[in-house]
């Protein structure tokens, strides 16, 4: 990681970065000294705290809001997988348990990372524990922790939602170093979604693809689970930036391939509506 490059990058979006940093020479100096001692893995967070020192209150409040929104979703995912792994007899031993454990570990890491980033930016991380969630969604998925098939369906919906949620928030983080971190989480969620779709396809013997396919008769939801329709809203879209992807430039790109080749974003409001189905009254996202 090249700190000078990062500063140059920031200068492109914030011409006053050096002025902002200049009065904080002591902070810079201490940062570089700290940099010698900390591990590479911890570097992004150390950078975050330096930028916090430089930007302070001028950091737009909605960046913290975005991070807290992401944190809420990561809490939801972590607690979901954690409860599933603690539910005896739910997840088959072997590859399935290993995969879900891997995913849970990532979600925990995301929780910790986002929490630190929010605290570092002077915000207050949202607190959500297992007791704040209802993973049956008011009984819609009543057997989610006793029926492996139901668990896989809900897990797939959560991951696909996560992918779409990060995408929708990216514009608020445009040009900021934290955008890269968000993108690095976003693609991990997509990897999770891909694997969970494969697990679901194998266990339920359904033709679910690793990518979001075109649903039956061209509908946006390819999972065959109508309860999760809002998760897949607009995923059958084939027009990007006013360009029709089906048959683009005379190629044989089918309507299905066109829909699959671009994931769609969800707005914050759409994601909150979905997440709130699984969050108990009193803790719902607003």
């Amino acid at each position: 990681m090249n700190i000078i490059n990062i500063l140059d990058e920031i200068e492109k979006v914030d011409g006053e970065i050096y002025e902002r940093l200049n009065p904080r020479r002591a902070a810079m100096k201490s940062f570089f000294n700290v940099g010698k001692k900390i591990s590479l893995a911890a570097l992004p967070l150390a950078l975050g705290s330096m930028f916090q020192k430089a930007y302070g209150q001028s950091n737009p409040a909605n960046v913290t809001e975005v991070l807290n929104f992401a944190l809420a979703l990561e809490h939801l995912e972590y607690n979901f997988y954690n409860r599933a792994l603690l539910s005896t007899g739910l997840i088959p031993a072997g590859a399935a348990t290993t995969a879900i454990t891997t995913i849970r570990t990532h979600e925990m890491a995301h929780v910790n990372l986002l929490r630190s980033a929010i605290t570092g930016a002077g915000g207050t991380p949202i607190v959500l524990a297992e007791a704040n969630f209802d993973f049956t969604a008011g009984g819609t998925f009543g057997d989610v922790f006793t029926n492996y098939g139901t668990f896989l369906k809900v897990a797939t919906a959560f991951e696909d939602t996560g992918v779409r949620a990060y995408k929708g928030q990216a514009p608020i983080l445009k040009g900021m170093p934290v955008l890269t971190t968000a993108l690095q989480i976003h693609s991990v969620e997509a990897r999770h979604a891909s694997h969970l779709r494969q697990m679901t396809a194998a266990f339920l013997n359904v033709p679910l693809k690793p990518w979001v396919g075109l649903g039956a008769n061209g509908v946006s939801n390819d999972t065959g689970v109508p309860q999760v329709d809002p998760v897949y809203a607009r995923e059958n879209n084939t027009i990007q930036a006013n360009i029709e992807i089906t048959g683009i430039n005379g190629t044989a790109v089918t309507r299905a391939a066109a829909a699959e080749s671009f994931d769609e974003f969800l707005t914050g409001a759409e994601v909150k509506t979905i997440a709130n189905l699984f969050i108990r009254t009193g803790s719902k996202l607003t």
């Binding site: 490059n5 990058e9 979006v13 893995a41 992004p44 590859a95 995969a99 891997t102 570990t105 990532h106 979600e107 925990m108 890491a109 910790n112 990372l113 992918v163 995408k167 990216a170 514009p171 445009k174 040009g175 900021m176 170093p177 955008l179 890269t180 971190t181 993108l183 690095q184 989480i185 976003h186 693609s187 991990v188 969620e189 997509a190 990897r191 999770h192 979604a193 891909s194 694997h195 494969q198 693809k209 690793p210 990518w211 990007q240 930036a241 360009i243 992807i245 683009i248 190629t251 044989a252 790109v253 089918t254 391939a257 066109a258 699959e260 080749s261 671009f262 994931d263 769609e264 974003f265």
Partner: protein, 240 residues
């Protein structure tokens, strides 16, 4: 399957048509012999985005979003060319399901490539000439290993370039593509070894941080040298 084969063929025909129309000799032949006409054609050549002089190569100018989009276009060209060749090589050990999914991936990459070409219009770089001499397309293992590299690298490239984009619409589009690439990466990895879909510890060279659950992210100056062995066309980089 019949239908799928036809689709692949159509794509290839389109490819060869493209190549045959942009060959320098035929272009010049069509142009006639007068010096004035040649000069005009030479000027036209530089603007013809389907024409790439392999010696001069293409230039990615990162001064603005077009540079970033052309960078993505270059990587998508590489990926699409790879999967087109896979579809025509019948790698050993590939199951029917794998063939079908690799064909899906092929058309996703073609869709990405053509999207950038169309969106960039006259600002698009020319077609790149690829070099897959290191890939054994008859070997399933070789194809999977190369696909894994391309997909993981593609994810890291988009993740690392996103912060450069100034137009919100382009940022969202890049996000719409990168998650599909990540889905590909996870799928390909699972074909090599089930459960390695997000083995971030193996991706530290691409900028992943396993302890933080973060995927790869590489800046263009790191990505291009890794892609270079697969690309014959010289890629010039300015304003990075």
């Amino acid at each position: 399957m019949k239908n799928n084969e036809l689709e692949t063929k159509t794509e290839l025909q389109e490819e060869s048509l493209l190549k045959s129309t942009v060959g320098r000799r035929s272009f010049l032949q069509y142009a006639g012999a007068s010096a004035a006409a040649l000069a005009l054609v030479a000027a036209g050549c530089r603007k013809d985005r389907n024409f790439t002089d392999p010696m001069a190569g293409v230039t990615l100018d990162f001064k603005d979003d077009f540079g970033v989009l052309n960078y993505a276009y270059a990587l998508e060209q590489l990926e699409a060319a790879f999967y087109i060749q896979v579809a025509n090589s019948n790698p050993s050990g590939f199951t029917t399901a794998q063939k079908a999914y690799f064909q899906d991936v092929q058309f996703h990459e073609i869709a990405h490539r053509e999207f950038f070409k169309k969106a960039l219009g006259t600002a698009a770089i020319g077609s790149l000439e690829v070099n897959f001499s290191a890939v054994d397309f008859t070997s399933g293992a070789s194809v999977l290993a190369t696909a894994k590299t391309f997909e993981d690298l593609g994810v890291a490239a988009y993740n690392g370039a996103g912060v450069r984009l100034k137009e919100t619409a382009y940022l969202v589009l890049a996000g719409q593509i990168v998650s599909v690439e990540a889905r590909h990466a996870a799928y390909v990895r699972d074909q090599i070894s089930n459960g390695t879909f997000a083995d971030l510890g193996t991706l530290s060279a691409f900028g992943a941080v396993d302890a933080n659950g973060l995927d790869g992210a590489l800046t263009p100056d790191k990505v291009l040298p890794l892609a270079a062995p697969f690309i014959k066309t010289k890629i010039n980089v300015v304003n990075l």
